[in-house]
């Protein structure tokens, strides 16, 4: 029962935050991807950095139970699936989580996106046997691997170095990139000219 309570609190906070950072607004996602407004890119990079610093700091201090980590398998389909998601992400301006959140915020196109998503997930369910037979789900890069060795876990590692240190350095790097990233990369000059 307490796990249901946690689901309500953490899920609710996640949905609320997605809306507050502007991730339910597809204008932000599309303009992040066409590089004309990096607000959301900076938000996401900062979020990953903060979460990594807190998590690995928490692992080092014993606050975080290493058993709570959950690393997913790496296989060719992860890249191919990422490419497919990227395509649809750019067209719609929604991903699975933000699509649901945007539909809840009252966007009709997001509701249609979610229906398409349910159809796509069903499509995967019925083609799964063929996908598996293709070998695209065979593990690469060690499978459930992490970059470094995280104490208390048995994940394969890419490099035999302390994983907590990797996590902290990477977290700091993500925050630094968020900090120094410009607000836009493409079209800034044109825009200034047009406005004058």
């Amino acid at each position: 029962m307490s796990s249901i309570l946690l689901a309500i609190v953490i899920g609710g906070a996640f949905g609320f935050t997605l809306d507050r950072v502007g991730a339910t607004n597809p204008n932000f996602i599309i303009r992040m991807l066409n590089l004309t407004n990096l607000h959301l890119m900076r938000t996401i990079l900062l979020a990953i950095g903060v979460a990594a610093l807190l998590t690995f700091g928490g692992l080092l201090s014993g606050l975080v139970d290493p058993g709570h980590l959950s690393v997913k398998d790496a296989y060719l389909g992860v890249f191919v699936g990422g490419v497919l998601l990227g395509l649809g992400f750019a067209v719609a301006g929604y991903c699975p989580g933000t699509g649901l959140a945007a539909a809840a915020s009252g966007r009709f196109d997001a509701m249609v996106f979610v229906l398409g998503g349910l159809a796509g997930a069903f499509g995967y369910m019925v083609t799964y046997a063929d996908v598996k037979a293709s070998g695209m789900l065979d593990k690469i890069l060690g499978g459930k691997a992490t970059l470094g060795n995280i104490a208390g876990t048995s994940y394969p590692v890419l490099m035999d170095i302390p994983g907590e240190l990797v996590g902290l350095v990477l977290g700091a790097a993500f925050i630094a990139i968020a900090w120094f990233l410009p607000d836009r990369i493409v079209g800034a000059k044109n825009r200034t000219v047009a406005a004058e």
Partner: protein
């Protein structure tokens, strides 16, 4: 034509564009808040993930239409199996969730929907013109809703097919994965941005 219009009424177009592009939080405050939510999830339960629940919901609908889809099985680790290999995989983990959806992961996604609805309502909701399609779409493809809905449906299909093929989505792989220094998270992010950035550059060239 677009340019001349924006010169003729720069105030209006600026205001409209600005309104559609206003996030309630700055990237600093928003990133901090989002990071804390992801950390809280790992600290208290497990990393955040969303896309699996599309499968569970499909399974619930499918099982409602034809109840033989998910069945009890003493042989399966979870106690449930399915005639669908995907629902039956990993000892019937998904089949069990279809049969008993009141679990952490499914309720998490329902709460996500509720949390977003509350936030949107508190900030006054989405303006009328934005509800059918975002301004950036209208600027590039006109304001026929059916075009946007068709594109959104197909995009939704491709996004969820891709997410399930990858074994996770933006939250599961990109956010939760990279924060744990998972190799798969970086592989996924590389694929998503390698496709997403050129696609958006190609499709969305005009800016009001």
């Amino acid at each position: 034509m677009k340019r001349s219009r924006s010169v003729a009424s720069p105030g209006l177009s600026e205001q409209k564009g600005h309104h559609a592009m206003r996030a309630p939080l700055s990237w600093k405050a928003g990133g901090l808040m989002l990071g804390i939510v992801f950390f809280a999830a790992v600290l208290l339960v497990k990393p955040i993930g969303v896309s699996t629940q599309f499968v569970i919901f499909d399974g619930i609908l499918w099982d409602a239409v034809s109840p033989s889809v998910v069945t009890e099985s003493a042989d399966a680790k979870s106690g449930y199996t399915s005639m669908n290999v995907y629902l039956a995989k990993s000892g019937g983990k998904y089949a069990k969730s279809v049969e008993n959806p009141l679990n952490y992961s499914f309720v998490f996604v329902l709460a996500l929907i509720g949390g977003a609805a509350i936030s949107a309502r508190l900030r006054g909701g989405v303006e009328k013109a934005e509800r059918a399609m975002p301004a950036v779409w209208r600027d590039n493809f006109g304001d026929a809703p059916w075009k946007r809905y068709l594109a959104a449906f197909l995009a939704g299909f491709v996004v969820l097919y891709g997410a399930r093929l990858a074994g996770g989505c933006t939250s599961g792989h990109m956010m939760s994965g990279m924060m744990q220094t998972a190799v798969s998270g970086f592989v996924f992010a590389a694929g998503a941005f390698a496709a997403g950035i050129p696609t958006a550059l190609l499709l969305f060239r005009k800016e009001s």
